[in-house]
């Protein structure tokens, strides 16, 4: 792309709708169709040059750009927050190139693009979750070769992934992975669920909505179709658990059953907790939805 391409050729719009040209969108959509047909399988796609650096959400961005229409309502979050710098930048770009309406209320959104989190209120069947993925290959931890990891996926050769979990338990007494916890999708492929915290994995399992995951650096997409099982790897005698925040309560909305971030008071230095999902927190403060209360002693103990 040359600077001349950025100048108006004729009329006011300087870009194709949603920035990508229609051919590039079709390429991503073709990969997405395959990804949905093979839950958890990573599908490569050809990616054009983009106006932001790879590794800054370009995977999710291209998925959104290839699917968004003028009637869509967009919510973009980073670490659960609508106001984080990455989310703000991506939102500005998408609004400038599409003119769609945006929202912070996850119930209103038709497309939710996110890094790190799913909203506390489960998405519905008509909503689409787009996740920005930094490391799409869950087996990269145990195998550096791409040829080899592809063979391992094709043969369901996952013993070494399990061995790494065994070693983790031996060394740390428990599986210490906090984010990107490996999951078996539809009983077949092992998938890295973006950098989602463990907390969000039960929200993916059997979810009503379609989840599309895009990795910009590796130029890969993968998907969790609606009503598809997403089971975190676990030993029979060491069940998977989600984060436990003890007796902590959100300082803004009073929720105890949400994923809580720890912040520090700038004056006193005292630590306090707030909801990671700022949109949800705002809804509680506005009295639109009730605060979420902690249910089980160890948080949401997932899976039966």
């Amino acid at each position: 792309m040359t600077p001349a391409d950025l100048l108006p050729a004729s009329g006011p719009r300087r870009f194709n709708f949603a920035f990508l040209n229609e051919g590039a969108k079709r390429e991503v959509r073709r990969a997405l169709l395959k990804a949905v047909a093979l839950p958890g399988h990573q599908v490569p796609f050809a990616s054009p040059e983009l106006p932001i650096a790879r590794g800054w959400g370009t995977g999710g961005l291209q998925v959104t750009m290839s699917l968004i229409g003028p009637a869509d309502v967009l919510k973009i979050i980073d670490q659960g927050c609508d106001g984080s710098v990455n989310a703000v930048n991506l939102r500005k770009l998408l609004v400038a190139t599409t003119g769609v309406r945006t929202t912070s209320d996850s119930r209103e959104a038709t497309i939710l693009q996110s890094r790190h989190r799913l909203p506390e209120i489960p998405l519905a069947a008509h909503q689409l979750a787009v996740l920005q993925v930094p490391l799409p290959e869950p087996l990269r931890l145990v195998e550096p070769s791409e040829v080899e990891t592809r063979r391992m996926h094709s043969e369901a050769d996952y013993a070494r992934m399990w061995v790494s979990l065994y070693e983790d338990v031996v060394q740390n007494g428990a599986i210490s992975l906090a984010a990107g916890y490996p999951c078996r999708v539809h009983g077949t492929y092992i998938m890295s669920p973006s950098p989602l915290p463990r907390w969000d994995l039960p929200l993916l399992d059997g979810a009503e909505h379609l989840t599309l995951l895009g990795a910009g650096r590796e130029k890969r997409v993968y998907a969790v179709p609606p009503y598809t099982s997403v089971k975190p790897l676990e030993f029979e005698d060491l069940p998977f658990t989600v984060e436990d925040f003890g007796s902590a309560v959100c300082a803004r909305c009073g929720s105890s059953g949400t994923f809580l971030d720890e912040l520090y008071d700038e004056k006193t230095g005292a630590a306090f907790r707030v909801c990671s999902d700022s949109g949800f927190c705002d809804l509680v403060r506005a009295g639109v939805v009730p605060p979420k209360r902690k249910t089980a002693p160890a948080g949401r103990l997932a899976h039966g």
Binding site: E155, A159, V163, V169, E234, F235, E236, L238
Partner: protein, 288 residues
């Protein structure tokens, strides 16, 4: 982990592995490959098409509890044979059947994912070089665990317990379970390989030159261990070696291989005392 051994024991002397005309060829191949290579021509390379016939017309039965020796010089196809059986390599012709496991069909054409499952259930392998059979940088316990996880045992305490008892059985001190094999001696690494190969209680154990490269006293201990395990567990084994001493000590029956083919097979004593094929005669006499 007694439960994986719960499958009904085959009748005494039942054939557990039947190999029929197994063939492994590298290259395009032509009609003349089999006719122009092999022991009679002292070459594996087809003069017409240049393909290498690494294994040709290999047929034998392995019976329950039997130890089958495979001898031959370097390049005779011994390791290729066990690697084809273990599915490390895909055979290019012939058939293999595992009996007594409801898998009586030919397994050489199964998809890789099925071969992997079958291997996890039925076989263990000990390679000549521990670097091939072990991951030297993860702990010894994890190496044994890998075999159990391949066999789809996902119970942490049971995996840990089984690893502990196998390492104990192969005379690895208990505290070494969380040490990586890289920090241990060659003899210990070989015993960890044996522990790993036995983890899923396989009916068939493949041993490829297990004592080569070990000093004589360590060799003797590893061979003793193999004999004890065979007696205790009644496991069937295929023992590959170029060392006639190892074959004499372990094998009930022996195949002699040359240029990818079998030149002679029979009871080990018979082969050692009264070799028929000129090549076997050379092999036996050169070790005395």
């Amino acid at each position: 982990m007694g439960d994986t051994a719960a499958s009904p024991a085959p009748a005494p002397d039942a054939v557990i592995l039947a190999v029929e005309n197994l063939e492994k060829r590298y290259g395009p191949g032509c009609e003349s490959c089999l006719a122009l290579t092999g022991p009679d021509h002292s070459t594996n390379v087809c003069p017409r098409c240049g393909s290498v016939t690494a294994l040709r017309l290999i047929s034998f039965d392995l019976r329950e509890g039997e130890i089958l020796g495979v001898v031959g010089e370097s390049g005779s196809g011994k390791s290729t044979l066990v690697q084809c059986i273990y599915f490390d390599l895909d055979a290019t012709g012939g058939r293999m059947r595992f009996d007594g496991q409801n898998d009586a069909a030919d397994v050489t054409r199964l998809p890789r994912i099925e071969k992997r499952r079958l291997r996890g259930r039925l076989m263990g392998m000990v390679y000549q070089n521990p670097m091939r059979g072990l991951r030297l940088d993860i702990t010894s316990g994890a190496n044994v665990a890998e075999k159990l996880l391949e066999a789809e045992v996902f119970h942490f305490s049971r995996i840990r317990g089984r690893a502990q008892s196998l390492l104990d059985r192969t005379e690895i001190p208990a505290s070494y379970i969380d040490w990586p094999p890289r920090t241990l001696s060659g003899g210990m690494q070989q015993r960890i390989q044996i522990a790993k190969a036995l983890a899923n209680n396989p009916p068939l154990l493949l041993l490829d030159e297990v004592t080569s490269g070990l000093d004589v006293s360590v060799q003797a201990r590893v061979l003793d261990l193999i004999r004890e395990l065979q007696r205790e567990m009644g496991i069937s084994m295929i023992v590959v070696s170029h060392d006639m001493g190892v074959i004499r000590l372990l094998a009930d029956r022996t195949l002699v291989m040359k240029n990818g083919g079998i030149v002679e097979q029979g009871l080990t004593d018979q082969i050692l005392e009264d070799p028929q094929h000129p090549y076997t005669q050379l092999l036996v006499h050169s070790t005395l």
